[in-house]
Symmetry: C2
Subunit: 398 residues, 2 copies
């Protein structure tokens, strides 16, 4: 039999119809035509999808977990076509959810995966000259609101970097709009970050030598992306942010991942993941497509994920996966700094906490609250600083 | 006030909480931070999203239709960023559906729209030398199953084109896999189509001068797409197929639409998981992003759309929309040729019917069944051939 991937779906279906429904799904996601009309023996044996198991779901009587074996060759080893095979047509069928995907080792090895991984984030944000980078959680915040001009964003970036936050990213809504165009904003913000870094290099105390990096938002089609990538490289930005589900997974995997040259932070905007399990899409798939870090809504914020789902996303981002580097989980979405200890305890040290609005809420006390955030995240390392950083031992030679 | 677009959402919410929920959505989709922390007056006045109306949904007690006014400038006039503004973060909130989007004229004019439109499809498929092209519905079929080699697909294409089908497209699952790579398949299939066209040019009867065109599937990242576009142009294919939600809307709008040089057929694969109303996404938005035709699952097939939804998709594809050309609606998804008259009566003449599996089901009688399909679609024009083809009067100078 040809190499197959194992794809788990959850179907809403009555017990007496599930066998036929599962077979129909296997056809839909492979040959998409009546089996009896397939005359080619190779296609019948190697391409037609197969139903492996059908199990009642633990959740509800009218739900079944169906595992299909789909031919790896139908993906052409291309990330977009892989999405097409596992959830192209059946995304249009409201009774189907995509739960999980397991690829054989050879197929796994052909997907790009993170180029820098968690170790890459630590290296990029390590204090001037520090090697190896300290083993601690990382802090991240967002420049916002959109609508500010580039100078205002740069001034904000300076304050946040000076306060010791590791990664200062654009809000994902800040793209390439007229009020702060990429070509104007990125040099101004990057220089503001560098100014803060110079001051910290000469500082004493807990911020001595601390290094912040800037992650601007990439957006648009290939030409626009290429122009933005050139600016980002020329200015020496330390990381990049983009939304794979908006720019498109093939463009993310082929163009952005290949040409970024710095760690990539994936944002879940437009991931609409009600019907694709978040741990699969935001944890495993974004990582396989090349994300070095993956942002996701934490429990207890403005989004609906449960604690278990969030921890599963983090697990998928970091767990062994062929030879691929781990990606850094980045819980976000309405976090408050009062929750830092709880969150670091839950996720462990290989985590970056993203807090935006809750810092800006401080108004005149922004610098102070940002510094408290940065320090509290950095020192939360003590919670498990004896843990063995197994994932960090991977090298960063991508 | 700055130019605003009107975005309609459906929220699942109790009556006593809906005011606050609507305001929270307006913030989520604009500044994404606490309003009270926004100090910039321009941002407060021109960027923060506004709640325009809240109305109980006709559907259920716990559903409300909420219309927001979001600032057009936040989209940067870029299709991907437009999706981000209207459904980026809130796609992750399971209580939100995106129902509709109305853009002011100036914003509408900045989106690409179809380059060829319905008139372009008629011109591309008109009998040798016929001008103007006949006013009739068009027929479309798919080469399948994937897994066949390029020679088998070419032979199938010959049979289908020889039978008089207007558009012979790759199955959307046929991308650039090893068994029939794009660079090998496209020249072979295109030549098979041309051979059929030569024979029809010299034929008598209903097929005299009939011209079929081939629409291969574009897939992958920008480099791969560029290589495929070069092959398609060199071989003179008459149309192209791709899945905007997989290759990514910005890449579709910026690269594919600009460089195709032939009408584009958009496939809805991977579009279904997002909780966006199909008439908006497949009808209006795909058209605004550059699709000349839009495939969608017809009622009564393998997918869940209702008749009303399908007709609404077709309406959105063809209705006046600024200066944009209409896009051709392409109902599909398990159609049988016995339903042709019903479908043409429902959709009218500005329609292309896509039937794949139901032809292949015929086995040895494929050529005969395909010819019946082509002829029946073409002659269904009589149903409303006195209708004024207003949309067709638009020129095709894009």
């Amino acid at each position: 039999m040809s190499a197959r991937m194992s794809v788990r779906y959850r179907l809403q279906c009555s017990a007496d119809a599930i066998d036929a429904r599962a077979r129909a799904l296997a056809v839909e996601q492979s040959i998409e035509m009546p089996i009896e009309a397939v005359r080619d023996e190779r296609v019948r044996a190697q391409i037609v999808g197969e139903v492996v198991t059908i199990e009642p779901s633990a959740q509800r009587d009218d739900r079944f977990d169906v595992v299909l074996a789909l031919a790896v060759e139908t993906t052409g080893d291309e990330p977009g076509q892989m999405l097409n095979v596992v959830f192209g047509n059946c995304s249009l069928q409201p009774d189907v959810e995509l739960i999980d995907l397991e690829l054989p080792a050879a197929a796994l090895a052909k997907l790009p995966g993170p180029r820098f991984g968690i170790a890459g984030w630590r290296a990029a944000t390590s204090p001037s000259g520090a090697s190896p980078a300290p083993y601690r959680p990382l802090s991240c915040t967002a420049l916002k609101p959109q609508g500010l001009d580039a100078w205002a964003l740069a001034e904000l970036a300076y304050v946040l970097a000076r306060a010791g936050i590791d990664v200062v990213k654009d809000d994902h809504g800040i793209a390439d709009q007229a009020c702060a165009p990429f070509a104007q904003r990125v040099p101004l913000v990057q220089r503001a970050i560098e100014r803060a870094n110079r001051e910290k290099r000469d500082a004493s105390g807990s911020l001595a030598g601390h290094r912040s990096i800037y992650a601007p938002t990439l957006s648009g089609g290939p030409r626009r992306l290429a122009a933005q990538l050139a600016i980002a490289r020329a200015e020496g930005v330390g990381a990049l942010l983009c939304c794979p589900m908006i720019i498109g997974v093939p463009t993310f995997a082929e163009l952005v991942r290949a040409e970024a040259g710095v760690p990539l932070l994936a944002h879940p905007a437009f991931a609409g993941h009600l019907r694709i399990e978040p741990p699969l899409l935001l944890g495993r798939l974004f990582r396989l497509f090349g994300a070095d870090a993956t942002i996701f809504p934490n429990w207890g914020g403005r989004f609906g994920n449960t604690r278990a789902e969030c921890l599963a996303i983090a697990d998928r981002a970091r767990a062994p996966l062929g030879a691929h580097r781990p990606a850094l989980p980045v819980p976000a979405g309405g976090l408050r700094i009062e929750r830092i200890d709880e969150i670091v305890r839950a996720y462990g040290t290989d985590t970056m906490l993203l807090i935006g609005g809750d810092l800006l809420r401080a108004g005149d006390a922004l610098a102070e609250r940002a510094a408290r955030f940065a320090l509290q995240v950095a020192s939360a390392a003590s919670v498990d600083d004896e843990a063995v950083a197994v994932h960090d031992e991977r090298t960063s030679d991508g």
